[in-house]
Subunit: 372 residues, 2 copies
């Protein structure tokens, strides 16, 4: 009777872990953070040394690490496991959980990962992550502490946890797909606007990559970087409101035409206005032609009055204008454009962003350059 | 000892319910369906007569039903409970769970809902739905069956379930917000393209509402209706590629200009092409100017060769063109436009969609009409 009671108490502890972890899925936005939390709890309750989550690369028929915990996690992350190979490969292919008390005695055991990470796997539980009847990944725990082996209770617990992980992954994927749809849609439409003038074809895409070169070296959070990206995509969306004969004029604009052209940031702001979730980005779009000395447009803002993202986009935008042909002038070389950016630092451009941009450009040679 | 054992077994059953329900959150897309499932399980385990989930309307400081189960659910759904009022109002305001074994003895009890639904509440458990430290709603179970009262075990179980419900609601909200951002963004940009020609201002928005009038009366699933909506928003996006002097010409187009204008469906298809998640909508956009008799463009498709959504958008698009002014002619009256739609059924338009459109337009008088 006593042992039955303690068994039940143990069972309760395990179930409570499952209930607890389901609370950990508090947001689909930080999926890696959540998975880490869940795996950490699993390791604690199951007394495991480490744990991982694999995803499936359908095209390459390979498994790759979404999360690899423990001291050797960093080394492990580089590794890809072929579908069907090893214990995780078997679980992915068969869609069934597997408890291997001693891996050295299992013919499916694949030494590849241990060899590269210098981790020694003894026992393993691997469970399929199934969403809508489809295996989307595998979760595993490795090595029960104190030289013991995993047992059926561990298997049952980890299988249930695997179901929760699959739900979280699926929801995160749905969110990510929709986010990509949003970004690719505004990108595609803006590209069509760029393409109206053959001289600005690809302009917005290049400005995005230049602005992100700067943004990524600043110590800003993901959310702010995303806002910078969306602002950069949309910085010239107001050109929809500029007539073709001004936009694509094969020659210098008259004063009147130029005055109208200068209204594109306002028009952009007006287009964004009805999109409540993007409204906070309006200042970035409205002020991307301001100058640090107050001589820009539309508002003549000075220095730090100009939003950070607008100052970044200004550098990115000007660099792309300098390094692409215009009907009335040839493009500058990259180094001549760098010189001009430096010369106009403090008057037109924020010197900090000019410096970062030049350094990053030299380091990374952004992809977009080849598209020019 | 025996009673302790059965207590533990009972506890296990409850915990298993929690684990099970967390699996029910398998998708953030059908939140109402999921909540229904979870509440149904809760009723079963807690032997409750019915249950509900309330959301908070921050602006109006009211609670409204997201889900109201049971025979009186339909009547209940109409009701709104002021913040702080009644038991659910108290729970929403204080962010604390509440077990009221006998509501007639609780001064907080608010008879409003029972009066309207003719449901008799005896006992109640209400728990706050908390996401990121903020109360976003309240879940409640009503009336333990067999004239018994709810107890502390029920309260504990339902509090844990409330946490899971809050997670699901939060994730569903995040997804919904992003979806709205996507739709409102493409809508806003397309509206700016429409507005280049004062004669087509608001055109795409009206075509969307007309197309949905038809789509909503067909027996199609949510997903297909969404695809129709996105196709209708984007049907004229290719006009970005049509020069202003053709698009806004104050008079009839020359043959050459008209030939170019007729390329806008192709241009639209080309804009959508890079957006992988929208690629399946290209035929709807490409073929919205086909005619049932094969005399349309760009491909001269006939009858059922023309995608259903393209046939629907064609009716919606033509009706809006007829009922708005053009530089070279005044708009037709609604009834004259109906006559023309009928006359051109079978040759230009799908007669089924014309019939549905006219019937639905007469019934519902779409909002967009007043914006003309």
């Amino acid at each position: 009777m006593k042992s039955k009671l303690s068994d039940l108490q143990k069972k309760i502890k395990r179930l409570e872990t499952l209930v607890d972890t389901s609370l950990a899925f508090s947001s689909i936005l930080d999926i890696d953070e959540l998975l880490n939390l869940v795996l950490q709890k699993a390791e604690l309750v199951m007394e495991a040394e480490t744990s991982s989550v694999f995803r499936i690369d359908e095209k390459k028929k390979e498994l790759y690490f979404q999360i690899a915990r423990g001291k050797k996690g960093k080394e492990a992350k580089e590794i890809r496991v072929p579908m069907g190979k090893g214990i995780v490969g078997w679980v992915a292919e068969h869609g069934k959980p597997l408890l291997v008390p001693d891996v050295t005695k299992d013919p499916r055991w694949y030494k590849g990962v241990d060899k590269k990470t210098k981790f020694v796997t003894r026992s393993i539980i691997a469970v399929p992550l199934v969403s809508k009847g489809k295996v989307i990944g595998v979760a595993e725990v490795l090595n029960k502490k104190g030289n013991r082996f995993f047992n059926d209770d561990d298997l049952e617990l980890f299988t249930a946890l695997g179901n929760q992980i699959a739900v979280a992954l699926e929801n995160a994927s749905l969110y990510k797909e929709l986010d990509e749809l949003f970004l690719s849609s505004i990108r595609a439409i803006v590209e069509a606007v760029d393409a109206k003038d053959p001289y600005t074809r690809g302009h917005s895409a290049r400005v995005v990559s230049y602005a992100l070169l700067i943004g990524e070296s600043l110590n800003i959070d993901k959310e702010s970087l995303k806002e910078l990206e969306i602002s950069a995509i949309l910085h010239d969306v107001g050109k929809i409101g500029i007539p073709d004969n001004i936009l694509g004029k094969p020659g210098k604009l008259t004063e009147e035409e130029y005055a109208f052209m200068k209204r594109h940031p306002e028009f952009g702001a007006a287009i964004i206005e009805p999109i409540s979730k993007l409204r906070m980005l309006i200042p970035n779009i409205l002020h991307h032609h301001e100058r640090l000395d107050g001589g820009g447009y539309p508002s003549g803002l000075k220095g730090s009055e100009i939003p950070v993202s607008a100052r970044i986009i200004c550098v990115a935008d000007s660099f792309d204008a300098m390094t692409t042909d215009r009907p009335y002038r040839k493009r500058k070389s990259i180094s001549a454009a760098f010189t001009e950016l430096k010369q106009c630092s403090n008057t037109q451009f924020d010197p900090e962003f000019v410096e970062i941009f030049i350094e990053q450009y030299k380091n990374k040679k952004p992809l977009a350059e080849t598209e020019q």
